[in-house]
């Protein structure tokens, strides 16, 4: 096992022999950075295989997790950190159910490799702590089975961060990256409008 954090601390950078070969899985090492080793940004692509221990900054805390090149961020969040708010609905991100923030930007955890997320600031729905959007979702009953809800909450939060005073028309056209099967869209629109109006 290769410990990325330790290697990073040495500031010696990655090179091929630091990693096991064999499975043929490839990740871009340019995406492998830790907070202590910005120098890695300059590295050329590396071949990585096998399980490594990396540090992920999730919800303000550093976590040591194990990841193979093929391991998605969603798998790490759900199985290693037991942060199950982000849901596995579509592996290609088309449902938006695994929406999280990476360095403040909404992304789907199912489409990011864990190794790519090292060194970035990851925030999950669990970090919001019952904020105005979540309160509005409850008040306007913008949830039924609730499986899509955390992803939608993150999408609405992100959208309103960008457009705090969004109009109804903007809300209706700006939240099409997530799918709800129970059909809570009408209520989500109401919830988002209320937050945009500073109500709730």
């Amino acid at each position: 096992m290769t410990d990325l954090k330790n290697k990073a601390a040495k500031k010696s950078g990655f090179n091929r022999r630091d990693f096991f070969r064999g499975s043929g899985a490839i990740a871009a090492a340019t995406a492998l950075q830790t907070q202590t080793a910005d120098a890695f940004q300059d590295q050329s692509p590396q071949i990585i295989s096998g399980e490594t221990t990396i540090t992920l900054n999730v919800n303000g805390k550093d976590h040591q997790v194990k990841a193979e090149p093929r391991t998605t961020l969603l798998e790490v969040l759900r199985y290693q950190l037991d942060l199950t708010g982000a849901k596995p609905v579509s592996s290609d991100g088309s449902s938006g159910a695994s929406t999280i923030f990476v360095d403040g930007k909404p992304m789907t955890a199912s489409t990011i490799l864990a190794l790519q997320a090292a060194g970035k600031k990851i925030e999950t729905v669990e970090s919001l702590g019952g904020d105005a959007v979540q309160q509005a979702f409850v008040k306007y009953d913008a949830e039924q089975c609730g499986f899509c809800t955390p992803g939608f909450v993150m999408a609405v939060r992100s959208f309103l961060n960008k457009k705090p005073n969004a109009s109804e028309a903007e809300i209706r056209s700006g939240l099409n990256g997530n799918i709800c099967r129970c059909g809570t869209y009408a209520n989500i629109v109401e919830a988002a409008i209320s937050v945009a109006k500073g109500g709730n």
Partner: protein, 736 residues
């Protein structure tokens, strides 16, 4: 013995009020744990291999490389995938790999060597002639009702033919139509599956299920243990819609692998497997001829419909045809079509949405033919008694709901005869409507209620909350009964170890849990009233529970709830209540109507349809929580928009492959697609007096027909098959 009734509208403090769902914040923060989210210590993740071909004979299934794949702990081959066995639909699970991680399990699946002989495939459910030629059709039953009876000497079949021909000939207007509705899938966002573990020979199964109290037996039967050795738990379920009533063979497999490996197993279907094998709704296509008098009142209906429910055939039941608007003379015949697709499962209001989309489109085409207002034609048929509904006062309720619905969508101002609206460039608009009905008899429900000497109230019931608000409704019923706040009641559902409660299907849950909990609450209250009466020196019959007190009606004399509960002594009061389906009761009832009207815009150049406004007026007896009740209706309308405009199972005619079984391709409505939705709860005193009736199914029925009719009104041309994709719109326009 308490008399089991509801308080009057004026007397309620919690029932009928918009209460936030109790688990709302748990869902919004991600704290709610679904089956997929339950992580058990040392668990393995299981991933299955689905059959890549829709009809084939397995000739080799070699899992040795999978077993050697790093991280793989166990490989299980399903019995139906043994060499020599035939598989009849794509996606059927053949083998499952349990591994230390999801990625390892996937790698194991990829290492399985499968060989098979391809066999002929048939998936074209819409083409009846092709199905007949392929020997894929079967009899689906039928029925003929005629006002006239054959004479003693008449041949019955001949008489029917002649009588229908006569009725059509004598009709002022005749419409001959073809309509259809494609198969769709349940597409639950949380796929089917379970997280299981064994402890001391007993199985604990976290199962994504609509049937908490009924699935322990399903596991037990297949595992050779007793149901008391199984606990099924489901605190939260990520969608079911009628597809999650059983452990399924993959649930049983999870339990077997867990036993074999001695480790917990998490086994949920992949997205494509979820769409391919875990639930779909039968398709329906119809050739129909109808006749009507000068007012559009139907005099005769003559139809043949067909469709598929999968490899066993099946399809839309003939019993619901023609739907709601039913003339005195009709003949209906159903033909089943067997296709190489997974067998269907119950989908919100089985048979009704298809029947509605295949019948009420024809009624609307009758209005178009007459140049009449569709509203008037529907109303004329209701007034003439051409109605088949489960509501005991159907015609009057439909007419009242139509009036309300028309006001809300401004039918009068927006109406124009079919195809005669004013175009804005290439955009035309139109109105359409549809009616529906459903039963919704309360399901069996037992519960246990505990009132403790410290005043706390806790209920236990083996029901489940599909997102409909079961928890919240139970809390409201108990809070109302005891005169307490909603937060003073603790509700426990979601375990098969709690008193049994029926499966959530057919709009039966709210009725069932209201029956059991209101009964338990009133029984408990009787006991508390006896104690309080002694304490207060009054007659127990003079007492009521309101505002956190037990008080003498119409006086200030009272005892606080908590104090009254201390009179119980050391032991809590435990009450078991039971409601059995069919028990006569004023608390619940069955049989509802419901009207929906849609206003759409269609771009004749692109074929794109937009819902401008969509209104639902729905009765459901007494409404416990208008907030969650309306949400349920909004949801049904949105699902209906998806089925009307976007979603369908697309199969490749040659390979039988379900080609759009991923969310990127299986098109559902998104937030920007829904337009303005309006829900109106129809609850006059006459409805309220009927007691509680579930509303999960009824509002999911009409959307397809209402939207298709609105499109026909806009274009003056019928787009016959839903979903009304842009291509289908353009094809219909080109053909006209």
């Amino acid at each position: 013995m308490a008399e089991y009734t509801w308080p009057s509208r004026e007397a309620t403090a919690v029932i009928g009020k918009e209460v936030d769902r109790l688990d709302g914040m748990a869902k919004a923060t991600g704290a709610a744990k679904y089956t997929y989210d339950v992580n058990l210590k040392n668990q393995l993740i299981a991933v299955a291999l689905g059959c890549p071909h829709a009809h084939c004979k397995i000739t080799k299934l070699d899992v040795s490389a999978a077993e050697k794949t790093p991280g793989v702990v166990a490989v299980h081959i399903f019995e139906h995938a043994a060499v020599g066995r035939e598989v009849e639909w794509e996606g059927e699970l053949l083998a499952v790999v349990a591994a230390e991680s999801e990625a390892a399990a996937k790698a194991g699946v990829a290492a399985i060597k499968l060989e098979y002989d391809e066999l002929p495939v048939f998936v074209d459910d819409e083409d009846l002639a092709a199905a007949e030629k392929a020997g894929r059709t079967g009899k689906g039953g039928g029925k003929t009702e005629l006002e006239r009876e054959p004479g003693d000497d008449d041949d019955e079949d001949e008489f029917v033919e002649k009588e229908i021909a006569r009725l059509l000939k004598e009709s002022k207007y005749v419409v001959e139509g073809y309509y259809g509705i494609d198969a769709i899938t349940h597409c639950c966002l949380e796929p089917h599956g379970s997280t299981v573990e064994w402890k001391d020979g007993k199985l604990l199964a976290y199962l994504s299920t609509q049937n908490v109290s009924g699935t322990d037996e399903g596991f037990a039967n297949d595992l050779g243990i007793t149901s008391s050795d199984v606990e099924v738990k489901c605190d939260y379920i990520g969608g079911g819609f009628g597809s999650k009533f059983a452990p399924d063979y993959w649930g049983v497999a999870a339990a077997k692998i867990s036993k074999e490996t001695g480790r917990p197993i998490k086994f949920l279907l992949s997205r494509d497997q979820e769409l391919k094998i875990a639930g779909n709704r039968p398709s329906g296509y119809i050739n129909v001829k109808i006749g009507a008098d000068e007012n559009g009142v139907l005099t005769v209906w003559d139809s043949v419909h067909w469709g598929t429910a999968g490899y066993k055939g099946g399809g839309v039941s003939q019993t619901v045809m023609p739907y709601v608007i039913r003339p005195k003379n009709y003949r209906r015949i159903a033909t089943t079509v067997a296709t190489n697709t997974a067998q269907s499962r119950a989908w919100r209001a089985p048979n009704h949405p298809q029947a509605c989309a295949m019948s009420q489109t024809a009624i609307d085409d009758m209005a178009a033919k007459m140049g009449a207002n569709s509203y008037d034609v529907f109303a004329a048929n209701l007034r003439a008694g051409n109605v088949d509904s489960q509501h005991p006062d159907a015609a009057n309720v439909y007419l009242a709901e139509m009036e309300r619905c028309a006001e809300l969508i401004d039918w009068k101002a927006n109406w124009h005869p079919h195809g005669k609206g004013k175009a804005k460039g290439s955009i035309v608009d139109g109105l359409g409507m549809a009616l529906h009905t459903w039963g919704g008899t309360a399901n069996n429900s037992d519960c246990r209620l505990k009132v403790s000497p410290d005043g706390s109230v806790e209920a236990f019931c083996g029901s489940q909350d599909l997102g409909t608000g079961t928890r919240t409704v139970i809390a409201q019923v108990l809070a109302e009964t005891f005169g307490l706040g909603i937060d003073q009641v603790r509700v426990n559902i979601g375990s098969s170890k709690y008193p049994a409660s029926g499966a959530s299907g057919g709009s039966t849950t709210v009725g069932g849990v209201c029956e059991s909990h209101r009964r338990a609450g009133l029984d408990a209250l009787d006991k508390l009233f006896e104690l309080a009466a002694k304490e207060l020196g009054v007659d127990a019959a003079s007492l009521e529970a309101v505002g956190g007190k037990i008080r003498v009606k119409g006086s200030d004399k009272s005892i606080a709830w908590k104090k009254a509960c201390t009179l119980l002594g050391m032991k809590p009061l435990e009450i078991n209540a039971s409601y059995k389906r069919g028990d006569v009761s004023t608390l619940s009832s069955s049989g509802v109507c419901g009207v929906q009207m849609a206003h759409v815009e269609v771009d004749k150049e692109t074929g794109v349809i937009k819902v401008k406004k969509f209104v639902a007026v729905q009765d459901q007896g007494l409404v416990i929580n208008p907030k969650t009740c309306k949400s349920q209706i909004y949801g049904a309308m949105i699902m209906g928009i998806a089925a009307a405009l976007y979603e369908r199972r697309i199969t490749d005619p040659k390979s039988g492959a379900f080609v759009n079984a991923e969310l990127a391709d299986y098109k559902l409505a998104r937030l920007g697609d829904i337009g303005e939705l309006v829900v109106d709860l129809y609850e006059p005193e006459s409805e309220r007096q009927r007691g509680v009736i579930g509303n999960g199914e009824p509002p999911a029925i009409s959307p397809k027909a209402a939207i298709a009719n609105a499109v026909a009104n806009a274009l003056g041309v019928r787009v016959p098959v839903v979903p009304l994709t842009p291509k289908r719109v353009l094809d219909a326009l080109a053909k006209a």
